[in-house]
């Protein structure tokens, strides 16, 4: 089956969204748990319980991050090229924080020394908290536009050294988005922790769900208001036909107040996304409170799907708006790969993603059960 180029361009926009949501649900959970580790676990054994909740799965979950990166490379090479080099310092910060995770999980409990273990606990905290925050900051900057332009050979350029460009990335709106992202991923991690542990750890995790859930809702609401009244959106005035060969310089773009809300009038159904974001978080708090963290996990996943979709839909069809040269902005119509590559990659995802989901679920099912202090004591030399 050969799909139209225009249809495939749209499908790939949705697929990148799905991969990002998958990343938030799987790897975001581990990061959230990393952020909670030093606070929810007070003793070494409690911390080992927390680590072993994600122990067998963190590596598979992290592949969502890598695959999302690879898929953006393959499907939107222009975005991969401009975004990751434009966010150079932010990207380094994320990578350096993530470096602590694989080694942290594997090395922490290999030695008995208390200082060694505490040091890795904080390493795992950094590996969870910093990326959670920066991913939100990145989205916050996308919504405001990024200062880049493309030259006639489609090379991306930025103003000045990026070393000094890290600070402007940390502007108030972006920081708000960062806190939102941190809170939602931590809420998600906490509800999983509540599900997979017992006693005092589960009780502390339950408190964390409530706190993070409230912050999520508050930040999401505030960001929505800010986006409506304080941040100019981008709107396409003219552009080549949607099935044309990608030409990021072939369109005209205007920057106008309120343009980020266009989608909600052209496609009223889009309102489902923010509603899901709020309702999911609210339900998660309630379900966690009444002791049903399993359902809470589902609702927190839905909440994150709603919040991420809200950002993506509001920017539709933009993917990487340029604040300095709006015409250089990248959209889902003019940033993609060729028709053939999108087709090949589409089938790769259609075939492999269900297989991945199937064996991932099998792995979770085999490793199911609450992780307890007693179990850690019994398996002291083989557990993380």
């Amino acid at each position: 089956m050969i799909l139209d180029y225009e249809v495939l361009k749209f499908i790939w926009w949705a697929l990148v969204g799905i991969l990002l949501i998958g990343f938030a649900i799987a790897d975001g959970m581990d990061m959230g748990i990393g952020s909670l580790l030093p606070f929810v676990g007070k003793t070494d054994e409690e911390r080992r319980v927390i680590i072993n909740v994600v122990g067998p799965h963190w590596d598979g979950n992290q592949v969502w991050f890598i695959t999302a990166g690879g898929a953006i490379f393959a499907a939107w090479p222009a975005v991969y090229a401009a975004a990751f080099s434009g966010f150079y310092m932010a990207m380094l910060l994320v990578l350096f924080a993530l470096f602590f995770r694989p080694v942290g999980f594997d090395y922490r409990s290999k030695l008995g020394d208390a200082r060694w273990r505490k040091a890795w606990d904080w390493g795992l905290f950094i590996g969870g908290a910093v990326p959670s925050l920066i991913f939100g900051v990145a989205f916050g900057n996308l919504l405001q536009g990024v200062p880049f332009h493309l030259d006639e050979f489609l090379r991306a350029h930025y103003e000045g050294s990026l070393l000094t460009a890290l600070l402007p990335l940390l502007n108030p709106f972006a920081l708000l988005a960062g806190v939102l992202s941190f809170a939602m991923l931590t809420m998600h991690g906490a509800v999983w922790l509540q599900l997979r542990t017992d006693d005092v750890i589960a009780a502390r995790a339950r408190k964390a769900v409530a706190l993070m859930g409230v912050i999520t809702i508050a930040c999401f609401a505030l960001a929505g208001v800010w986006l409506t009244y304080g941040i100019d959106g981008y709107r396409i005035i003219t552009q080549p036909p949607l099935d044309a060969l990608p030409d990021p310089l072939g369109k005209e773009v205007e920057v106008v107040a309120g343009a980020w809300l266009d989608i909600y009038t052209t496609c009223p159904l889009a309102i489902i996304a923010p509603v899901l974001g709020f309702a999911g978080a609210l339900l998660t708090i309630l379900l966690s409170y009444i002791g049903r963290p399993g359902f809470g996990f589902v609702t927190s996943a839905l909440s994150m799907a709603g919040i991420i979709s809200t950002a993506g839909l509001s920017m539709f069809p933009f993917v990487l708006p340029s604040s300095t040269h709006p015409d250089s902005s990248l959209t889902l119509w003019d940033a993609p790969s060729s028709h053939l590559t999108l087709t090949v990659m589409f089938w790769a995802v259609v075939i492999f993603l269900p297989i991945v989901l199937a064996y991932t679920i099998w792995c979770y099912a085999r490793m199911w059960g609450k992780v307890t202090v007693q179990e850690i004591q019994e398996r002291s030399h083989s557990a993380y």
Binding site: Y80, Y107, P246, D247, Y384
Partner: protein, 526 residues
Amino acid sequence: MIDELFVDLSRLQFAVTALYHFLFVPLTLGIVWVLFIMESVYVMTGKEIYKDMTRFWGKLFGINFAIGVTTGLTMEFEFGTNWSYYSHYVGDVFGAPLAIEGLMAFFLESTFVGLFFLGWDKLSKRQHLAVTFLAALGSNLSALWILVANGWMQLPLGSEFSPETMRMEMTNFADVVLSPVAQAKFIHTVAAGYVTASMFVMGISSYYMLKGRDLAFAKRSFSVATGFGLAAVLAVIVLGDESGYVLGHAQETKLAAIEAEYHTEEAPAAFTVIGLPNDETMEVDYALKVPYVMGLIATRSVDKEVKGLTDILKENETRIRNGITAYEYLLKIRQGDKSEETREAFDSLKEDLGFGLLLKRYVENPVDASEEQIKMAAKDSIPPVAPLFWSFRIMVALGFYMLLVTVLAFYYNAKRVIAEKKWLLRALVLGIPVPWLACELGWFIAEYGRQPWAIGEVLPTFLGTSSLTSGDLIFSLIGFVLFYTFLLIVEMFLMFKFARLGPSALHTGRYHFEQDAKAVKPAPAE
């Protein structure tokens, strides 16, 4: 024009991060199969010692694997962060194998590797064996897709340049995947990983034998490794990466540079064993040559010639001139000329566009290039010979050393006298770093030999960079070196600690360091 310092820093950072990453990859590629063999024996025979072997070598694998994953994270994003124009220019083709690697291979490896480590009590014997197999398969498939991507950089098949989108676009996915260069690289690279793992297991087992500890454990581990290693080391040498070098012009250049073949010789060419390559005079001083051998190695025939660098240089100069014309037509098309004549004229020359781009090192617009600049660009089109010539010879010598010790180990092990051959055991312990050195040299040859191209004859390396500054790169390069070195030190510390401790690390109560303690108090019930 081009900020040479910035380009060099970008290249250095990529080289450093990639070479660091590949310190951990080869062991993973091989040891997963060693683990699978050990565990298969355990499942078939039910002998507990094979389970202990799987778990103990698995522990060492885990220490290595964690840092392999860590350094691998950088690689997935470094094209975007530091090779932004490269990513735009070839992402349409190059991104696909990378993304498929994630979907098809890395998910498989990573999802199951967690259960390999922590699923012993929760899975049945057969389930656990299946998990080990799938993790092993995933890691090797990962290598396949990465080498498909890398093979395409060496010889860009199945794609063509599109002036409208100003990038390379895929025309045939099967040609990209089934590239003979990629296949040759895959076999060579995974086999090198298998050799690395067997040298590692043999070396550490030798240490236990020399110390007289855990002999049953050590000898069984040693046996698995020698059998596996012998097959692998033969594969690495016989199916050398060179087999791919006769395909495609850029690969020919690399071959000529490796062999310091400055002048085309009549077939079958002689092989220069050793000598002093001189890029200025384009001669090899004090050359020691063996007739016929070069032709046999490189072309697998006695009648095909191996092209020399002086001839390649002349051809490249012509192609640079064609490239200038191609660039002129490209500019016209980019400025909106949609006429068929222009398009046809461009298409007839676009194979040489990359050569025209080589001039961008010296002039903004290649059309304005002077004669002198064309000569300089032609000179740039072949890599410096001496580093490749020497790296290759050292790599091959190390390969033959590993062949020798593996054959001896296999022989004495089969005769069941290995524990008495102290000199060989010592050589194996001291030789543990050898496969790593050979692997790193192999990558150096493959990638330095590709210069000046990022994508063979399509995109010069210096054009592929991001629009960053040298300051950014110095900052990040120092960061990577410090962080990676810190991690490497921690990794080596744990690796030495657990390798010295041996199977006693499993706390089963059955091994050397637990025997004294056992005499005092009874072992805890399992």
